[in-house]
């Protein structure tokens, strides 16, 4: 394990006040700094990020992830699970396996150095614990240990009970000592498996032995997750108790760029990826009433005279979608669209 490099600048007693809390509690794209890089195994590095002024960061639910902009272009963004319990953090920490395919993980391994600025969005919560669970069964495969560690730390903090199954190749297990230390606490047990057969046997046994009211959470490679869901079904678990996160978190995708023609004026408006048609219409002085901006309230429904619409809202019925003459411009996108405004 190489020595960690720390950058000074943590405020000792931040005061909340003056500005409104929510804008200060940022989760939008913003600049953060690398404050620590640790090599956990031959292929896995641990990165910690802090606000430029060292102030407190937005807390997060266990199992949350952040989205990091890879490289300089700003169009490649990857999600990484956070490893801490999420309670008023001053840093966000991720552990990344270098995949060696020229992707985001390679870039992080090769380019990040302490002190460097990185664009980060989130945290976002997509893998949170179920609040009224009586007990938790946590399952990690390889570097999928990261959200599992976050859950385990939060369970430990709250004094709850859990069983943890960690499947790894000896010598390549990130955070193994962290989990072993957590399992020293009564009520938390760690089961380690080194081979596929071991993993199947341990999972089958643990899934049959959980007290009533347990929820299970797994993160790892696809084959492990398939085994996990199959074995859980075999053990009679309803799917509502069987939670999982794939390595690539399903993000609301930014969509392709497209152009919209406004029928009344003939104006052509470009809509880049990650920007809504609603926003572009408003910027171009086309008034559209709107409220929720999430495709729920239906307020920003606008008439469409032609084009192919990709509906992404929760309001329109199947028939209305098929008719193709209306869209919710806060979330939906398309190609060759003319709006009847």
């Amino acid at each position: 394990m190489t020595a960690a490099v720390r950058v000074p600048g943590h405020a000792a007693a931040p005061v909340i006040g003056g500005a409104h809390q929510h804008p200060g509690y940022a989760t939008g794209r913003r600049e953060m700094r690398v404050v620590e890089i640790t090599e956990l195994t031959a292929g896995i590095k641990h990165f910690r990020f802090a606000a430029p002024d060292g102030s407190m960061l937005t807390p997060y639910a266990p199992g949350s992830h952040i989205i990091i902009t890879i490289g300089d272009g700003g169009d490649r963004r990857n999600a990484y699970s956070l490893v801490d319990d999420g309670m008023y953090p001053t840093t966000y920490a991720i552990s990344v396996l270098r995949r060696g395919e020229g992707g985001g993980s390679d870039w992080l391994h090769e380019h990040l150095v302490p002190g460097m600025a990185v664009e980060i969005e989130g945290p976002r919560s997509m893998f949170a614990p179920v609040g009224d669970q009586r007990h938790a069964l946590l399952v990690a495969g390889g570097v999928g240990v990261t959200p599992v560690l976050s859950h385990a730390r939060a369970l430990l903090r709250d004094g709850n009970t859990a069983e943890i199954v960690y499947s790894y190749r000896p010598g390549h297990a990130a955070h193994l000592e962290d989990l072993r230390a957590i399992a020293d606490r009564p009520g938390i047990a760690l089961f380690e498996a080194h081979t596929v057969d071991d993993t199947v046997a341990v999972l089958r046994e643990r899934l049959s032995q959980q007290r009533f009211g347990t929820h299970a959470y797994a993160c790892g490679p696809g084959p492990l997750l398939e085994t996990y869901t199959d074995l859980a079904a075999e053990a009679g678990w309803p799917s509502a108790r069987v939670h999982l996160e794939r390595f690539a978190a399903p993000e609301q995708d930014a969509g392709e760029p497209f152009t919209v023609r406004v029928a009344s004026t003939g104006a052509e408006i470009d809509v880049p990826p990650g920007v809504s048609l609603l926003q572009r219409l408003l910027e171009n002085g086309v008034p559209v009433s709107n409220m929720c901006r999430q495709g729920v309230c239906g307020e920003c429904r606008i008439p469409v005279s032609s084009g192919d619409i990709t509906h992404r809202d929760l309001v329109l019925s199947e028939d209305e979608r098929a008719a193709g003459n209306t869209m919710l411009c806060c979330v939906s996108r398309g190609t060759d669209i003319e709006v009847d405004l």
């Binding site: 409104h20 940022a26 007290r211 009533f212 009679g236 678990w237 729920v296 309230c297």
Partner: protein
Amino acid sequence: MTTALSVPPIHALKGRIAAFPYPFPEDTYRYSTNVEPANTPNTTAAGGWGATIIDIDEDYHAELAERATVLAADPTRHAVLPHMRPAAWDAMLTVMGELAGAYPDRMSLRNLGGDVWRWHNAILDDTREFRYGDEASLGQEPLAYITTQVQEDIALLDQRNEQLYVDAGVVTFAADWSFGFDVGMSFLEIHGPVPRVRRDGVITRAHDFLKRLQPHQPYRRTNWTLTIGHRLDVSTERYPDWGPDREMIQSVADDEFGRLVNLRVEVQHLIRLPDSGALMFLIRTYMLSLEELATVEDWRVRTAQVLAALPDDMAEYKGIIKYRDRAARWLTEAAPAATGGHSPREPVPGLPEWPTVPPAVDVTGASFLIVSIGQDPQTSHAARGWVRAAESAGPTRMLVLDSLAADADATALRQAYGELRTGSRILVTGSQYAVMMALAWAYDAGAISAELTAFVTDLGDLPMYCAHCRDIHRVVGAPGGVVTCPGCSRRVQIHGHHAPRLGGFLASAAAEEPS
């Protein structure tokens, strides 16, 4: 009528009118998912509102004192289910942060390192140093404490299994609902009785929206009704105090009517708490009498139109059907009396739907507990059928009980639940009372709906939650009926509104005593 009805002093009115969150953007009102981002100021015909999430106004001391009185008289207005304790801390710290942000000259929140915080409220001259998560250091339960600092009521919703559950809160200013009854119910269950919203999909859309709400993206909406007198606590529990006002108001003189009838508006903020993932509802109640409302011409005209055009089912649900026509007339002054159409009453939702034949055993389970309660031959027949099907799918245990009212049987059932492993299924048959109680205890033991199957063989009895003695009783009766509460001897009406996790139908004092 001896009920005291307060009217605020006239000098305090100007600020209240300017800051009033007038709720009608159009001349008709229908239920909608009327959410918008919080923290954006709204302008109204008289002023504006909404620049901050928490709002402190000149009623601060009075409303906090009223909340303390309500809580002292009725502890069921405050509840935090055990799994919501972390969310309550999360809520408290979030609200403190909001207050410090909105009122930096009077409120401050400082981190003293680690888990230790210092909170100061200069308005109340209240300072607390506490360790996050340590109730002893704060001196009381965090939701109870933070609701001594804000005028807002707070409800916390837990999200699990794609549902939201109201599992904690301090609600002292409920508008015709019972927080003590609703605790533990899902969002969809709570809104079962609201007319139209299911048919129109409004509630399911709102539900979808809330489930996807992310931290630090607070939203808000408004809701409204009419209230007689400046009475904040119009909860189901206090119905005997305020219910009769609906009759009284019909016979008062016109000037008295305009002073007593208030447009009551709730500003509800919806906030995903960052650490616990719970949803926080802040519910703030504002009231303006018709007399005050009429001082703003736009509001006078529009409110009259909205009241006159409100469909009967919605007016009935809001509890204003007996006097909304007069309120509309009062506001329109010379206009002819609005009569409103007579739509037939829709069937009451909110009733459990029991199958007419025993449902099939869910053979995806790994083991089965079959519970047969009572002597009804139909009950034992259903249980035997289940046992035959279950035994071919996995280990099966049958538990035969006489009555859940007997302590020994109740203990045996809870013990059997305690011995289950995840992967088990629970099947229950018996009278409606027995089945609802057995299901409620199963939820209490950690079950989710997918693990439960039920068959009711006799609808003659039911578990009734009395809003006055706040206990569950077995009664012989049906929703809509009036019975004597076995706990407090009041004549109560059983409502078509049931809470599966509590295992009871809501009942409250019958509106009209049979003579």
